[in-house]
Symmetry: C2
Subunit: 352 residues, 2 copies
C-alpha cells in the first residue's frame, strides 16, 4: 500500500520536547527568554470571530514587514511554516539537478533527510581540522547546488562574509543556500550580498533569536526569480502555510527591535559565562557564534554525560553520528539554568 | 538554477482572499459563523512567554482529543498544517506507485497539482450524467490508488456509505483516500468502515464546519500502519507542523459540540433558503450536502455572472475548466449575505 520511496526514507530526529516542565531544556536551542511583550498585546487583540476566514495565502503583511525590516523589496521575501518547511521547498525548487548537491559532512542533519525525501543525490564535503567549512573543496566538484548553515550547526562555528563572497564569486551557475538560523547571535548576515548574487538564498527563522519557536514561522531572502519559484512550489503544496495568528505575532516581534537586541546581548553574555565555567571543568569548546556551544570532554564519554544529565533533569543534545559522537551540543540558557547545568556536570565528573 | 520539475508544475489556484472587508465572501467555502466562544477563552489564557518553546512535534494532546472525539485509537490519527498539507503527505506516502492514481474528472482541483508536484501518474474517471461518482469504472482500471472527496467538490454531491463500502470490498490492495472536508454538513462519515478496511484513509479539516480556516489544522484517520507511514513522511519534511496556539484552539473547538451542531443546523437551513431563492431565479442546482451549492443558469454565462457579482462586491467561485465552465460555486452564507447575493443576481439577470 505504501509508495516505494518510503522504504529508503531517512527520517530526521528532532530534539526531545518533554511535556514534563521540570526539565531544564538545553537541547533544542530555544531562546530561554520570552518573546517581546508586544506579542502578548497582539494576542489580547485577536478577534476569534475572524478565525473562520482563510489567512491571506501570500502572507502579504508579514512579507512587507520583513522587507521593510531587512531593507529589501517585498519580491525578495518568501515566508513559510517554520524554516524547516522553507528549507524543504528550497530543496525541491533548486536542488533536483543532474549533479549532486554539496553540503558539509557536519551540518544541520535535516539536509540529508530532505535530500532523501526528494530523491536528490548529494555529496558531503569534510570540514577542516578546526571544524571550518573548506569552500575550496566545494569548488573542486561538479555540483547541482550548495547548502550550508552559517553559523554552522551543531558546531556553532561562523564563516566570515569575505570567505563566502569568494565562494559566490566562483560559483554562479547553481543556487547557494545559506541557512542563517543562528546569525543574530554575533555573526554578520550575507544579506548585503543578495543584490550581487542572484543565485544566493538566505534562510531565516523566528524560532531562535526571536523566541517564537511555538508559532512556526521561517522565511527566505533571495532574488525575485528564485522567490517566484518558491511561491509556485508552495502553491503546489499548501496555499495557506501560515495561520492568521502566527502572522500577526511574527509582525509585532519585528517591531520590537529594542527588546530583541537586549535579549541577544544577554545570551551572548551568558554564552561567555557558560564557556568560562565549562573550561574550568576541562571541556574543549568550539568557538560559538550561536546560542549553543559544542563541547567535548576528554575524560568522559559524551553519551554517558548526556544520559547522566538527563537523569538529573537537564536535557542537552547528543548526536550518535561519526565525527561528533563525543560531543554535546548545549543550548545557552539563562544564568540560573547554566548554574544548574554546571553544578550537575561537576557532580557527575567528580563521581564517575 | 531551478530544478527541472518546476517547468511542468501545475500550480493550484486558491480562491481570492481580498483584504477589502467590504466583500461578501461566498467563494472559498468558509463558514460564515465564528468558531466556538471557547476559542476566545483559550486565546485569552495563552501564555506568550512560553512561545519560545517548540510545540510538541507529535501534537499528542490534539491527537488524543481527536481520538476521543471520533472514538478511535490515538494510533489512528495524524494531524497536519491544514488538510492541504495532510493531503500532500497522503499523495507522497501512498500514491507513488507503478500504476496510475485514479480520481473523478470533476473533484477538488488540488489533486492534479499534488500529482504533478510528486510526479505521480494519474487518470481521471468521468462522473455519470447526474454528476455522481461512477465507482464501477474505477474498478475496471489497473491503479495505484484512489482518491475522491465525499461530498464531492465543487459539485456538492454526496455518495452514500453503502456505495463506498461496495468499492472498498473490491479494492483492498491499494489505498483509498476519502476527503471528507464537507462531511459534517449532512453526510454520513466513513469512519465506521475504518476497522474493516486497513487501506481506507479519511481526511478532515478544521477549516469548514469548525469555522477555523485561520488556524490551519487538518487531520487523517486510518489504520495505524498507514498513520505510521504519514508520521515518517512528516518527520522527513517538517518535524513541527502545528504551532502551540493552533493546537490549543483546535482542541477547545472539539470540546464544544453543542455550538458546533447548532452552527451546522443553521447552515443547512440557510442552504435550503438559498436553493429556494435560486430556483425562483431559474437556476439549476445540484443536490448539495455541503456548505456550498453548485449552480448553473441556462440564460446567462457563469463567467459573466461571476464578474458582474464581483463588481457588486459579492465574490463567488468560477472555474474555467471543461465540463463545469458554466457553473458557479456559491458558499452558503448567513441569511443576510444570501439576501444580498440574491438581490444582486436578480438585478443582473433582469438587466443583462
Amino acid at each position: 500500500m505504501l509508495s516505494a520511496v518510503l522504504k529508503s526514507l531517512s527520517v530526521y530526529e528532532a530534539g526531545e520536547q518533554p511535556q514534563d516542565r521540570d526539565f531544564i531544556k538545553l537541547n533544542t536551542n530555544e531562546n530561554p527568554y520570552p518573546p517581546s511583550k508586544k506579542v502578548d498585546r497582539v494576542l489580547r487583540k485577536i478577534n476569534y470571530q475572524k478565525l473562520n476566514l482563510y489567512p491571506d495565502p501570500d502572507s502579504n503583511r508579514l512579507t512587507e514587514e520583513l522587507a521593510r525590516y531587512h531593507k529589501v523589496a517585498k519580491e525578495n521575501i518568501f515566508v513559510g511554516n517554520g524554516s524547516d518547511e522553507v528549507l524543504a521547498f528550497c530543496f525541491y525548487s533548486f536542488f533536483k539537478q543532474d549533479e549532486p548537491l554539496l553540503f558539509p559532512n557536519i551540518t544541520y542533519s535535516f539536509y540529508k533527510t530532505y535530500a532523501s525525501f526528494f530523491d536528490i543525490d548529494y555529496k558531503t564535503i569534510s570540514l577542516d581540522k578546526k571544524f571550518n567549512i573548506d569552500f575550496s573543496k566545494f569548488l573542486q566538484q561538479k555540483s547541482g547546488g550548495i547548502i550550508f548553515a552559517n553559523p554552522n550547526a551543531p558546531t556553532g562555528i561562523y564563516e566570515n562574509i569575505a570567505r563566502i563572497k569568494k565562494l559566490l564569486q566562483s560559483y554562479q551557475e547553481k543556487v547557494v543556500v545559506i541557512d542563517e538560523a543562528y546569525i543574530d547571535f554575533g555573526g554578520e548576515s550575507c544579506i548585503s550580498l543578495l543584490g550581487q548574487y542572484p543565485n544566493l538564498v538566505i534562510v531565516r527563522t523566528f524560532s531562535k533569536a526571536r523566541s517564537l519557536a511555538g508559532i512556526r514561522v521561517g522565511y527566505v531572502m533571495a532574488s525575485s526569480f528564485l522567490i517566484n519559484a518558491l511561491n509556485r512550489v508552495k502553491n503546489s503544496f499548501n496555499s495557506y502555510p501560515i495561520g492568521t495568528i502566527a502572522s500577526k505575532i511574527a509582525i509585532c516581534s519585528l517591531r520590537d527591535d529594542e527588546y530583541f537586541n537586549k535579549t541577544i546581548k544577554k545570551i551572548i553574555k551568558n554564552r561567555l559565562y557558560l564557556c568560562e565555567k565549562l573550561k574550568e571543568l576541562n571541556f574543549k569548546i568550539l568557538p560559538s557564534f550561536t546560542n549553543f556551544v559544542f563541547v567535548t570532554c576528554k575524560d568522559f564519554s559524551a553519551q554517558v554525560l548526556y544520559k547522566k544529565l538527563k537523569e538529573k533533569k537537564v536535557l542537552v543534545r547528543y548526536f550518535a553520528d561519526d565525527n561528533i559522537d563525543n560531543f554535546l551540543r548545549i543550548t545557552v540558557g539563562t544564568k540560573s539554568q547554566i548554574k544548574r547545568l554546571i553544578e550537575n556536570l561537576r557532580n557527575i565528573l567528580s563521581n564517575p
